[in-house]
């Protein structure tokens, strides 16, 4: 993506140090906003060392201090609010928790979701500015819910791909914002793709034909990438048709990038790269997994595989450096698109104060969304809304009556922002001043009967103390549904244990066994393990209580086994037996009398039931669709005692309702998904008639889990007696159909119109219908349009119907609205498996218009001429390299995809190539790129086919080695490969030099005399890059024992005679205010002598007191006040935990300053400095300065090494009061001055110099 912006010389966010007064020309390209993001990213990547590159390939991207790059965690979540908590230190409250995806999916209101996502992005920006989180969010989940048992159903917008695409498209737009250059936040659609069962997600393969793949599973991604500029996807754990998605060039590159046009980054799900090897056994080693992921196009590994193995993979030839570079260019491009590398004044989204988080606006929008999600399933005799003027008491019962269930991936909002139904209803009634008694008696529980336990082993102990250990996963037989897996751990476990499941083990020796110990993990509440012999109903010899209720610890879904033991009833068995472990859920609690009394004694009984994170979640699918715990019992019991029972369900999706939905005393049923922090505020407004529920189910509610095919079956169409899936193919009766939801009012549809009765795939048509509110309340209706193709051959098994349009409208009582819905006919495609492209059936297309997928109020139709000439859609070009060396060539690879999602034979198209900077890189008519000389170039590729032109571009960095082919002094060659600084102890002689590349200019400034420095400068006229070679001509240095006076070899810079003296065999300098770091440049009494060669210098320093604050004294290698290296004994600052007392010793600091920008290379807190005496030594070799210190004059300890090019070097001594750095060092900022400490008196006993 090309972007050019105006440059403003301002402070840089990343704290990179530059010389004061830097202009655009002096800025490295990656910091220069005159270049596009891709150009800047390519430049940055070209500057990284290999180890730095590897450390940046994981989600925890390392800081790179030498380039001013901060650390960055790619992983953040914002599914329905930023996943974070309050941070008082940063002034942040807990972020707003909006209704979860399953709830907002039932609102069918993309505009509202886009508004919500914009608010989430606002809060994300405010949090980002505190430095505690990034801006790349791994949300939304766009999986259509193929099977309601899927543990993450609560994170999805619904079962229909069109609905999921429209809703998640709104989320993406809200997050990314509308600025043409910058992204407000970076959403990431997941999990790409067909990750729709939890229990086997690390090891399983989702197998399907290309029709299901393209029409159903990939559809939302196609829509988001093509229509909403989705900037990221996450590759999933699972394989598809045997190939892990994270290792698939087909899925990630050919389809996501080259077919749909993804322009952004791909992250693996956490440990997905690891799963390529350890889950799917697709490769054998971690290096191969790294290679598979990078080559497929996964740019970032959430985990450590890339960060630990990329270099090894490179060394083994499994990848090239270009694979690594490409991934990093994608990652840095995204970071740059957030404005991270740009001055804040330029970034539209830079200034969000902490007060944005949990603002009143956020809370109001959370409530507004919560008002739009409820779905009214039943309402007999107008039980709802409740007329509060006619009731005296309301009972609130059920486990969710006084609970705020926020659902998966919720942040931690402020407690004050969370409103339970009980709190909300009580406050609502109190605010209205009504005399209605609210009787709360929660009762009921949500104990899960799914995934009771994960069992690893069991051990039998005999009466003589001997034991035998058995691997529980090696069962001989089991009940249906039992699985074995490791989840995200390494321990194999028996999983998917339901109430009544069993595993059997043959040939078990039970003679004299007295005790059994089972190694099991409790994911939620646990269960009972009955040990039977011979059959699941055979003799019961032991019962292991593996429940949290009995005091056992729950390890959660990621936990490992803990031992749980029980006595065994010895029954005199001889010989081996078949042992059965039968797993049972704990008995349901009885419904307490208090609950029933509260219900009985109230005019209306509201029963709050639902699911929670223990019902199903990541790593744990539901095995049952029943309401968990004893909630079904609760509903029935309450309905028996109160004829005005209203059931309010808050669940992650479909639950079985057949057992109670038609009970006469259950007069109404309301459903929401997890409805956010404001659920309790919204609910009373709905219950009491302020707002009429307008939500519609976003999924089919099946009558029974038994109606479903196995969860591992990813095919959709009915075959061989197996039912089809979703509203597309499911034909059996259901409890509630997709799109169902009634209202307090009624709506009448009439006057159905279609804008054209003959359509082609390129048309956009409009369907209009008049909808009248014929009831007694204002209300919302969601007009839904479903498409069928009755003329399609039966053999093609087209879907029964597909949702192709909808609109939610608000219609006041008695009024009529004309609802117009546009249908893009290009969206009415099917996938042709034989020709591997989109296709359109010719014939009649019927558009069913209605209030649900079954409640069709009218139809219109059109005849489709399905003939379709595909046009050019997506062009992707690259040369598979980000960095080239001058002289290198690379071929441009271009793919062109048509809008039927097939690839064009590129030879049929006309292609034109242009380079933005031919002097850097030129390109010929065949796409052969030749790197000419150092700089950045962008190649644009224009592909024209059938009159339509689509372009793509790629950027490259050409590195231009700035090398000499000859360097002579006085006619004699001194050139050494890799050396930029030379030292000659001799008089100055003429220096001559020749550049290795003819495009480089050589200019030489001769040294006039020794000491003096000749400078050979190589420069590139076009790029402005330059490199200096220094030849230092020096004279031998002179030792000084400071016996009587300062030797003649010295000069004293900024001499202050009051503070410098030779006395008692030492040079004594008393410090004064000032230093030479950064812009201070005012330290007095710098004692310097010429040292323009290689050398070793040392001294013995004694200070009368421990240096305080920023005081420092020691050795100096000095060019000028802006270029030097100093090794000093300095103030230590306060040690951790220290209060007012000064530290006992100072610290040793190695400080380097280049062009006015200084940094501390080592800061060593010293102890054991005896009598204030320390020995200091510095060794210069070429451009490298190594520092040492000693506390006894004998043993020298290395204190660090720095590299810098200094010329006309002087060596000497310094003692000054120093300056305290004010926070991070910034360009041009004057360091803060300290309060004046007592002067430091530094005695230098000698100065020795050995010149080389």
């Amino acid at each position: 993506m090309m972007k050019r912006s105006h440059f403003l010389p301002v402070l840089m966010l990343t704290g990179v140090l530059f010389a004061a007064g830097a202009s655009a020309q002096n800025l490295p390209v990656y910091m220069n906003t005159n270049y596009s993001f891709e150009e800047r990213a390519v430049d940055l990547v070209s500057r990284l060392t290999l180890e730095e590159k590897q450390a940046l390939l994981g989600n925890n991207m390392a800081a790179v201090p030498r380039l001013g790059i901060r650390q960055y965690n790619v992983w953040s979540e914002a599914l329905h609010g930023v996943l974070s908590g309050a941070n008082a230190g940063a002034g942040l409250q807990g972020p707003t928790s909006f209704p979860g995806s399953v709830a907002t999916g039932s609102s069918w209101d993309p505009d509202l979701l886009e508004l919500e996502a914009g608010v989430i992005a606002d809060e994300a920006r405010a949090i980002f500015q505190t430095g505690t989180k990034g801006l790349t969010f791994w949300s939304p989940v766009v999986e259509p819910v193929r099977d309601p048992r899927w543990g993450r159903t609560g994170e999805s917008y619904g079962e229909d791909p069109f609905l999921a695409a429209v809703m998640s498209g709104a989320f993406v737009r809200g997050m990314t914002g509308s600025d043409p250059d910058y992204l407000k936040a970076v959403p990431c659609a997941k999990h790409y793709f067909a990750n729709n069962s939890e229990w086997d997600r690390h090891v399983g393969s989702s197998n399907m034909d290309s029709r299901d793949m393209r029409e159903f599973y990939l559809y939302p991604y196609k829509e988001l990438i093509e229509n909403d500029n989705l900037p990221s996807i996450m590759s999933s754990y699972n394989a598809v048709n045997g190939v892990p998605t994270s290792a698939s060039v087909l899925y990630l590159d050919s389809i996501a990038r080259r077919t749909y046009g993804l322009n952004g980054y791909v992250t693996g799900d956490c440990a997905a790269i690891d799963d390529i090897q350890t889950g799917h056994y697709y490769v054998e080693t971690a290096e191969e997994a790294t290679a598979a992921g990078l080559k497929a196009g996964v740019d970032s590994d959430c985990g450590s595989v890339y960060q630990r193995n990329a270099i090894r993979a490179l060394e083994k030839g499994l990848i090239t450096i270009d694979d690594i570079d490409r991934a990093l260019v994608n990652m840095f491009c995204i970071r740059m698109r957030t404005g991270e590398f740009d001055p804040s004044q330029m970034v539209t989204y830079a200034n969000y104060p902490p007060s944005v988080v949990n603002s009143e606006r956020s809370r109001k929008i959370a409530e507004e969304v919560a008002l739009r999600t409820p779905v009214l399933l039943k309402n007999e005799g107008k039980a709802l809304p409740i007329d509060l003027s006619k009731v005296r008491s309301i009972a609130l019962v059920g486990p969710q009556a006084d609970k705020v269930e926020l659902g998966p991936y919720s942040g931690r909002p402020e407690q004050s922002s969370r409103t339970s139904p009980y709190k909300g209803i009580s406050e609502y009634i109190a605010d209205k001043g009504l005399d209605v008694k609210v009787n709360l008696a929660t009762g009921g529980d949500t104990k899960s009967k799914s995934n009771l336990l994960y069992v690893t082993w069991f051990e039998l102990e005999k009466s003589d103390g001997t034991t035998s250990r058995h691997d529980a996963t090696k069962y001989t037989s089991s009940s249906q549904g039992i699985t074995v897996g490791t989840g995200m751990g390494t321990e194999e476990q028996v999983r998917s244990i339901d109430d009544g499941s069993w595993t059997a083990y043959e040939n078990v020796d039970l003679i004299n066994v007295e005790k059994i110990t089972v190694g099991a993990n409790i994911p939620t509440q646990g269960g009972i393990i009955e040990v039977h012999v011979g059959s699941p109903e055979g003799n019961l010899i032991s019962t292991v209580e593996a429940t949290t209720a009995s005091g056992k610890r729950a390890g959660g879904v990621y936990g490992t086994a803990s031992p749980m033991e029980a006595k065994v009833n010895k029954l005199g068995y001889n010989g081996p037996q078949t042992l059965y472990l039968v797993y049972k859920a704990a008995q349901d609690d009885e419904i307490s009398q208090d609950v029933l009394n509260a219900a009985r004694e109230s005019d209306v009984a509201l029963v709050f039931v639902g699911t929670d994170e223990q019902t199903a979640t990541e790593e744990a699918d539901r095995l049952s669709l029943a309401l968990p715990g004893n909630q079904l019992k609760l509903i029935k019991a309450v309905s028996e005692v109160n004829p005005n029972t209203i059931v309010i369900m808050q669940t992650l999706g479909c639950v079985e309702v057949e057992e109670f939905k038609d009970l006469e005393s259950i007069r109404a049923m309301l459903w929401t998904g997890y409805n956010g922090q404001a659920q309790g505020k919204a609910l009373p407004k709905v219950l009491f008639g302020e707002v009429s529920p307008g939500g519609k189910l976003n999924a089919t509610w099946y009558r029974s889990v038994k109606d479903l095919p196995p969860i591992t079956d990813y095919t959709l169409r009915a075959v061989d007696g197996k039912p089809g899936r979703t509203l597309w193919y499911y034909t059996k009766p259901v409890s509630y159909e997709f799109g169902y939801g009634i209202s307090y009012t009624t709506f009448e549809y009439s006057n159905f119109r279609i804008s054209s009765s003959r359509i082609t795939p390129r048309d956009v048509i409009t369907i209009d219908v008049d909808v009248k509110n014929t009831g007694e309340y204002d209300g919302d209706e969601v007009v839904q349009i479903y498409m069928t193709t009755p003329d399609s051959p039966a053999s093609l098994q087209r879907p029964i119907k597909r949702l192709k349009g909808f609109r939610r409208v608000t219609i006041p009582m008695g009024q009529t609205r004309t609802v117009s819905i546009d249908i893009d006919c290009s969206d009415l495609w099917f996938w042709d498996m034989e020709s591997d492209r989109m296709t359109y059936d010719s014939g009649k297309y019927v558009f069913e218009i209605g209030s649900s997928s079954k409640d069709i109020r009218g139809t219109v139709s059109a005849v489709m001429d399905g003939s379709f000439k595909p046009a050019l859609k997506t062009v992707v070009s690259d040369c598979r390299k980000s960095v080239l060396e001058a002289g290198q060539t690379a071929r441009t690879y271009t793919t062109a995809c048509l809008d039927d999602d097939s690839f064009l034979d590129i030879s049929k198209a006309e292609i034109k190539y242009t380079s933005s900077n031919p002097q850097v890189a030129k390109i010929d008519e065949n796409g052969l790129l030749t790197a000419v000389s150092g700089g950045i170039a962008t190649v644009t590729v224009n592909v024209t086919y059938d009159g339509r032109t689509v372009s793509d571009s790629y950027s490259v960095r050409v590195s231009q080695p700035m090398e000499l082919s000859a360097l002579k002094v006085g006619g004699k060659s001194i050139l050494k490969i890799g050396v930029s600084q030379y030292s000659i102890l001799d008089k100055a002689r003429t220096v001559t030099a020749t550049a290795a590349q003819p495009s480089l200019k050589v200019s030489i400034t001769q040294a006039e005399s020794a000491p003096g420095t000749a400078v050979v400068r190589l420069s590139h006229a076009v790029t402005g890059d330059s490199k200096d070679y220094l030849i230092n001509f020096g004279v031998k240095g002179t030792d000084d024992e400071f016996a009587k006076r300062l030797g003649r070899q010295w000069t004293v810079l900024r001499e202050n005679r009051d503070n410098i003296a030779v006395e008692n065999g030492s040079l004594v300098i008393t410090s004064a205010a000032g230093d030479i770091v950064q812009s201070s440049d005012n330290a007095q009494n710098l004692v310097l002598q010429s040292a323009n060669s290689d050398w070793t210098i040392d001294t013995r320093l004694t200070t009368a007191s421990v240096p305080a604050a920023a005081q420092n004294a020691g050795l100096l290698a000095y060019q000028d006040d802006d270029n030097f290296v100093k090794l000093v004994y300095a103030g230590a600052g306060m040690a951790r935990g220290q209060q007012a007392a000064a530290p006992a010793s100072g610290s040793l600091q190695l400080v380097i300053e280049e062009a006015g920008g200084s940094r501390t290379a080592a800061n060593i807190r010293l102890s054991g400095v005896s009598d204030g005496t320390i020995w200091l030594r510095m060794v210069k070799k070429s451009d490298e300065y190594t520092a040492y210190y000693s506390l006894d004059g004998k043993t020298y300890i290395e204190a660090g090494t720095v590299q810098t090019m200094l010329k006309d070097i002087q060596a000497g001594l310094i003692c000054c009061d120093g300056v305290q750095a004010a926070g991070r060092m910034r360009q041009g900022a004057a360091p803060a001055q300290t309060a004046a400490p007592a002067p430091l008196k530094a005695s230098f006993d000698w100065f020795h110099i050995t010149s080389k």
Partner: protein
Amino acid sequence: MFVLLSFAPFIQAHTVATKDGVQYCIGPDGLSYLHKGNMRRISREAGTCIAVFNDMIVTGHDGHIRSREKKRCRYVTAVAGKIVDLSASDSICIAATAQGLLYLSRDAKEWKMTDFNAQYSQYYGEIAVRCVCSSRAGLMLAGILDDGSPVAFESDRGGVWSPRELTYNEGGSILTLQERPVSLVYDYEHERYEMACTGGVTFLLPGCSHCNALIKTQ
């Protein structure tokens, strides 16, 4: 070849490494080989650490790193400060001082020092290093920030360090480790670092930070 079988603090501040019944004791004079199991008292304050690197025993004691092969102390490197921890895999040794000076070596003979805090304090904050670990999975160091909160970092070769999240999932909530690190080991069987922390807590760090776990000893 030396195999480190056990390394344990004894009562009265002894520190030993044993192999096949042979005991090495770290005393005030450095490492000594015990012929008769005669243990000498040493001071814990001296900052004593031991690791085994292929054929060599490496100790950090009294401001020096000593590397011993064939029972003689052959390589001595003075370090700036007290070593708080020392660890070795079969390819790289690492020693660290509390101030964040890291000493790395690929042969236990020549050591390269880098100042972690000088390099990273502006980005990661100033850390007091508590423990390090070298394994075939790379290097990890852990410590505490000025405010007492724990931090950990990973590196493959010791030149570039990435921060490591110390969050974990408990009951559906994402929490952050509060306890301070005490020592680090690498569990090859489970492919994870294990960090012993204050308060009887062990923090597990597998390759993916999503699966961090906290275990409290009962």
